[in-house]
């Protein structure tokens, strides 16, 4: 119950921060923006306390329940958001990352099930697998967010009549840098995450589990991002196209997330 209150409280903080950010954009009050970072930091602390209480209470450190999975992913995205905002001194991210976080928190609230296979899910490989995959997905979330920013900024520049958003969103160069780094971090962690998953499957009974939709989705996602990063680092594509794939790639991540959890429940 206590954990629940913390979640609701942090949800409200994120929501207010997002609305405040949007309002300041509409009313053109750039100096409100620095408040967004403080708001999100506050929300993050509340959110983290809630999650810790919840996990301690249920003992579900491996995030086997669907609800916890969403909650954990959302808080990781917030953490990424904070790190990037501070490192690159950008405020605009909240505009895109907050809706994503709010959506995942809502999903976490509504989700049920997923606990059935808990006795299967033991071992260090699994812990490693869960953590690595989740951080990888948050990195892809940040690539998606910067990709969206890139697409908007590119459109503004090409229109020859940049609007209000233009001042708000960082330069293409900054967005491209965050995007590329996020993609590289994401693919490295996802690779390790998948490998640890295979090791775990092997040690816990020798099944490779290729028929599991979760595994198939993960491999498909890995292939997509690997291909994108290969093209990017060899400079065959750059800029707008990378941004588009970053956005669609993450949409695929979310869809597979929802799809897989849904099919598992059924």
């Amino acid at each position: 119950m206590q954990a629940h209150l913390f979640f609701i409280f942090s949800f409200v903080i994120y929501l207010l921060t997002f609305l405040g950010h949007l309002t300041s954009l509409i009313l053109n009050r750039p100096h409100w923006q620095s408040l967004a970072l403080k708001g999100i930091l506050f929300g993050f602390v509340v959110n983290a306390i809630g999650l810790v209480i919840e996990l301690v209470h249920t003992g579900d450190f491996l995030l086997t329940s669907t609800s916890h999975t969403y909650a954990f992913l959302s808080i990781l995205i917030v953490l990424f958001h904070l790190l990037l905002s501070v490192r690159y001194r950008v405020n605009f991210l909240a505009l895109f990352s907050m809706p994503l976080v709010l959506f995942l928190m809502l999903a976490s609230h509504l989700a049920t099930g997923g606990d059935e296979g808990r006795e299967l899910l033991i071992g260090y490989w699994l812990k490693l697998h869960v953590v690595l995959t989740f951080i990888a997905y948050s990195a892809f979330a940040s690539a998606c967010v910067t990709g969206l920013g890139y697409l908007i900024q590119d459109k503004q520049l090409k229109s020859h009549h940049p609007g209000k958003m233009f001042q708000w969103i960082p330069p293409l160069g900054t967005l491209d840098e965050i995007n590329t780094r996020s993609l590289i971090v994401g693919i490295l962690l996802l690779t390790l995450g998948l490998l640890s998953g295979f090791f775990w499957a092997k040690t816990s009974g020798g099944v490779f589990w290729v028929n599991d939709p979760k595994v198939l989705c993960a491999i498909a996602i890995w292939c997509l991002y690997s291909f994108l990063i290969l093209l990017r680092v060899t400079s065959r594509v750059r800029g707008r196209k990378v941004a588009v794939v970053s956005v669609f790639g993450f949409a695929l991540v979310i869809l597979s997330f929802i799809g897989v959890n849904h099919t598992v429940i059924n």
């Binding site: 090409k158 940049p162 293409l172 160069g173």
Partner: protein, 344 residues
């Protein structure tokens, strides 16, 4: 006691008059003490920039602005009568309002420019060093600086560039972020393209390539910016190395074509490139804008953005004046309450 401002600026006097009366830091060493002794100023600050010479002062008699005029004209060996038509003076609340307006950039040639703020600060500092600033001027200038900050934060008076060259550089910063590591090629010569390069250099660009149909002129241009001269025929080949191309040649047809740029983008690994086409007739085929990671702005695009920004600044004027009026009111109230029996 009376507060006053006496001066001339870009609106009241042409440059050939202003330059005769401009005071350097060194001049102030002599002028400031004589303002105190000969013109009878209790307190005073002398602001001298390329667009204005103004003396803000406080004095017992209401003749002091006339005496100030004599002191500064005398210092420059100018006849007071000849200079008379270029001067303006204001007293008390008007003079305070004038200072506020000047410091906020509302009286500047480029509305809302911020350089003047620093110049006012420096003038105040110099006067303080000469111990010609007392309670009143001290407060008046502190209030000026607070107001300047307030106006900048709460209005958009200094937002957006208002000249073609600085708009171009702003756009470059929105594309590349850090301009330090970027290379620029300038093709052809011209005031506006050179102003753009100057702005880029101010923001840190170090590497400049210059090209011109006449190689000698390319060399001269390159020397001016400590860059490298490039033969005109070789210019396109070298474009794969640069990030910004400023073009202002007098060629009658576009010299940079769609197919060329398409190929160029492959060579440069799709790295973004920004074409600033200042030439009329245009140097760059407008179709290249459709290529990914290629950004093209011509003179009209840039001028339009500059005009829009200026319009936006003008729209903020009313709000600025409101802030200024409020602050003048508060300051004058304090001044009148000083209670020293001054006749205000």
């Amino acid at each position: 006691m009376e507060l006053f401002v006496l001066g001339l600026n870009h609106k009241s006097a042409p440059v050939n008059i202003r330059e005769q009366l401009a005071f350097s830091e060194q001049d102030l060493q002599t002028v400031l003490p004589s303002l105190k002794q000969e013109a009878g100023l209790e307190e005073g600050v002398l602001l001298s920039t390329c667009n204005r010479v103004e003396i803000y002062g406080m004095a017992e008699s209401n003749k002091s602005s006339q005496q100030v005029k004599e002191v500064i004209c005398h210092y420059r060996d100018l006849s007071v009568d000849e200079m008379e038509p270029y001067f303006y003076d204001q007293i008390n609340s008007q003079s305070v309002g004038h200072l506020f307006r000047v410091a906020c950039g509302l009286d500047s040639m480029v509305l809302g420019e911020t350089e003047i703020f620093g110049q006012v600060k420096k003038a105040y500092q110099t006067a303080t060093d000469h111990k010609i600033v007392g309670t009143v001027m001290h407060r008046m200038f502190q209030k000026t600086f607070q107001l300047g900050k307030k106006v900048r934060t709460h209005t958009g008076i200094n937002v957006g560039s208002v000249s073609v060259s600085s708009v171009a550089v702003d756009l470059a910063e929105k594309i590349f972020d850090d301009l330090k590591s970027k290379r620029v090629m300038i093709m052809g010569a011209g005031e506006m393209s050179e102003a753009t390069v100057n702005h880029l250099v101010e923001r840190g660009t170090e590497s400049i390539l210059a090209s011109n149909r006449s190689y000698d002129r390319a060399v001269a241009l390159a020397n001016r910016f400590k860059g490298e001269a490039v033969h005109y025929d070789d210019a396109f080949n070298r474009m794969s190395e640069v990030d910004i191309v400023i073009s202002s040649t007098s060629a009658p047809h576009p010299i940079i074509q769609f197919d060329q740029v398409k190929k160029l983008m492959q060579e440069r690994g799709q790295k973004p490139i920004f074409f600033i086409d200042i030439a009329v007739p245009r140097d760059v085929d407008s179709e290249i804008d459709k290529i990914d990671n290629v950004y093209l702005y011509n003179i009209d695009d840039l001028q339009e953005l500059a005009n829009e920004n200026l319009k936006n600044r003008q729209a903020q004027l009313e709000k600025c004046e409101q802030f200024i009026d409020e602050e003048v009111g508060r300051f004058m109230e304090w001044y009148q309450n000083l209670g020293k029996g001054w006749k205000v």
